[in-house]
Amino acid sequence: MSAIQFPAPDASILSRRAEIVAALARLVAPESLVTSEDELRAFETDALTAYRRMPLAVVLPSTTEEVAAVLRACHAMGVNVVPRGAGTSLCGGAIPQEDAVVLGLGKMNRVLDVGFADRTMRVQAGITNLSISAAVGAEGFFYAPDPSSQLACTIGGNIAMNSGGAHCLKYGVTTNNILGVRMVLVDGTIVDIGGDAMDAPGYDLLGLVVGSEGQLGVVTEATVRILPLAEGARPVLFGFDTSEQAGAAVAAIIGAGIVPVAMEFMDKPAIEICEAFAKAGYPLDVEALLIIEVEGSDAEMDAALARIVAIAREHGVRTVRESKSAMETAAIWKGRKSAFGATGRVADYICMDGTIPTGQLPLVLRRMDEIVKSYGLRVANVFHAGDGNLHPLIMYDVNDPEEARKAEDAGNDILKLCVEVGGCLTGEHGVGIEKRDLMRHQFTQADLDQQMRVRAVFDHGWRLNPAKVFPLDGRWTPASEAA
């Protein structure tokens, strides 16, 4: 694919590469500086693998002070910086540029402090999402947002993308579960935003930082909320003959005052792909599957499920299957959480991430099918049914440039549809480069200008992750204001 443009690299920076690398070498240990072509290759893309750019150099600092020193030096030399966690971004958020230094947080992966009484925990930004929960699991706590990539992705990346997960229907997304960050600004200034109290003073700078996609600063530490684990959790599979029935059942469950921890939807192609991979016992004779999870004591779960099953029956559910063991529960979630990887085994795919008002579901599913068929492609649908966050996986052949272009076009049509029906371009994966040029479908120029003015407060000269989020043309700068 080649539809998405990158800015032309700055030739004067490229010609000063040796000088820039030498300056960085004075700031960090030799093993923390990556400059050989072979090793740089590992950083040329993220999970949007159709696009690649080799960075100028990669620095892997070990402390906040090192991060500050590197940013200060890059600032002084006029070099762009792309922050990076684990590189699992699906929107190209961590893809570098030829004239940029990648600042990878992977070495900063420690737990700094746990306060069980306050239900908070301080961690370094490069720790993986799953390690946070693992560190407090024995004490009966966990960190709630659970992106399917949680084994690999970092809390710094989660903060940058405001990541969600299957269980955020009840527990919220990243922004609802972070209390504070230590962050380094583009000029090397270290700043603490928020803290470990529930409300922070002054403007909600933390709320601006979460979801800012590495454009406002480099997060080096985070204070997260940890929550007590429920007594038990039980997912149940509900198979329906039509997507409409499944959608109506979701609306009725919420209408009855029940908010399960998770309500995940899969269509037939997704069921087949995930079942072949995870052997989770998903019913293969249905058109739509809901995985609904409830929590609590056995009696509480029985009672909640009885209510949910009754509603599902009113909506013509064909099969109901409860998990009967921890192993079955694990298999059911493995199937869902591996949906992207399992699809990757049968075809190349691009994963979309629009959100729609859930009432529009039947219409959007129908229109999506038409769109993808009109390009002669196939789609598998998994999505977070409770909150309308869709993940159509459009399958194509990466070696066929024509098909790749069609997949991208179909994806763009789907996202425009999401905006048209009252939703948005991205529910949890972020804008990155992937949706950058669609931003004007969702926002007016005044909306974007206001966002860019706020961005400029943190990064005057567009040095941090500059090729992302905002369309490359018509960017607001203090200079454009004066003109």
Partner: protein, 403 residues
């Protein structure tokens, strides 16, 4: 027609739709007229005294614009009374998750609180501990910035990471960044019933330990407060449970057993429980005498009791804790600096921050009402103010001098 000219030259500007709001702000921006932005004006007494020439109220921008119970979302124009939104939700068995407090009992105001005011102050109540603050439920804002431009952020879907999250940026900005025209929230079903477990006679430190034990248990405590000896004859430590009746009964039993080391407990039924939490939400315990200054301290619960003890040593204070100890309300004599030095010294180095929510204007003019930020945060704060409101026309100086 010009929203401003009804009712005399210096009367409040009362736009009735977004276009009038845009026109009113644009005119003020062009003339450089500082505006006191407000909804119902019930919280006008919070902040540094305004340095505005004219007030602009959104209280006539009313009406629910969107309500989809099955999508758990409600939108309203910013001047819509909170009471109307809550009643509309209640008809369909739903509620605002964050239980917004009503400042009227504390501030002695009788006007009608609006949804825009809830957002401007980022109000929340006891359920904050599990459901988040106003900012956590707010999913969309239409607003007018200080240049007179209509700006939208977020929307009507609950998962949305498209672009910078300005929704959070303006929530809790006390009318200093933008005038809201419409606000949209995610909502939750109202629990079928509730009950409150009451422990008696605990000192502050032990009470907060009990609250932490409850909040750290799997039994889904939805509110946790302590009323100490300064406001109740016998101190009361309170933990609320909400949900379906069978589940509440079960969890009440388990929670009682868990908290047995803190003494025997009583259980309040739903009706009594509701009345009690409403008073805690609105801090009616400290409303009288009117002459006292009121402070609100946000702190990690484990550091709350020591800070309060230091204050009680230095001044005649009354207090209570909400949010499991993470929110401390204090009443102090409104003399001198209204206790600013004592309160801030007591919590110095704890990561806490204190806001003076009630005091005579003369005191609010000279003490820091909002906790003064560290230098780099102050720079960012000033930058964000300028990015929304370059001429400084919205509530100038209300939060910080010069901002």
């Amino acid at each position: 027609m010009d929203a401003g000219e009804r009712g005399g030259v210096s009367a409040a500007l009362l736009p009735r739709d977004e276009a009038e709001l845009v026109a009113a702000v644009a005119a003020a921006a062009a003339a450089g007229t500082p505006l006191a932005l407000e909804g119902g004006g019930t919280k006008a007494g919070i902040g540094r005294p305004a340095q505005a020439e004219r007030s602009l109220s959104t209280r006539e921008l009313t009406g629910i614009t969107l309500y989809e119970p099955s999508e758990m979302v409600i939108g309203a124009r910013s001047g819509t009374p909170v009471a109307l939104v809550e009643a509309t939700l209640a008809e369909r068995g739903q509620m605002l998750p964050f239980e917004p407090m009503d400042y009227r009992p504390l501030l002695g105001s009788e006007a009608e609180p609006t949804m825009g005011g809830v957002v401007g102050a980022n109000l929340s109540g006891p359920r904050r501990v599990v459901a988040g603050a106003c900012r956590d439920s707010l999913i969309g804002v239409r607003m007018v910035n200080g240049r007179g431009e209509a700006v939208t952020s977020g929307g009507r879907v609950m998962k949305n990471v498209t672009g910078l999250d300005l929704v959070k940026g303006v929530c809790g900005s006390w009318g200093t960044l933008a005038a809201f025209s419409e606000v949209t929230f995610k909502v939750l079903p109202t629990p079928e019933t509730s009950a409150t477990l009451v422990l008696h006679g605990l000192d502050d430190a032990r009470a907060i330990k009990a609250l932490s034990a409850g909040l750290g248990s799997p039994f889904e405590v939805s509110a946790a407060a302590h009323l100490p000896g300064t406001v109740e004859r016998v101190p009361k430590t309170l933990l609320r449970l909400e949900g379906f009746a069978d589940s509440v009964a079960y969890r009440a039993g388990r929670l009682r057993a868990l908290l047995a080391p803190y003494g025997s407990s009583a259980l309040l039924e739903a009706a009594q429980s509701a009345v009690l939490w409403r008073s805690i939400r609105d801090v009616t315990f400290l409303a009288e005498p009117r002459g006292e200054a009121i402070w609100r301290v946000s702190v990690a619960p484990s550091r709350a009791a020591a800070g309060v003890a230091a204050i009680l040593d230095a001044a005649p204070a009354r207090h209570l804790y909400d949010w499991g100890g993470g929110l401390v309300w204090l009443a102090l004599p409104a003399a001198g600096d209204a206790g600013a030095a004592v309160v801030r010294a007591a919590f110095a180095g704890t990561g806490a921050h204190a806001t003076l929510v009630r005091a005579p204007a003369e005191i609010r003019a000279v003490v820091d009402v909002f906790e003064p930020p560290a230098a780099p945060v102050r720079r960012l704060t000033a930058g964000i103010k300028a990015s929304f409101d370059p001429r400084g026309i919205f509530n100038p100086g209300r939060m910080y001098a010069g901002i």
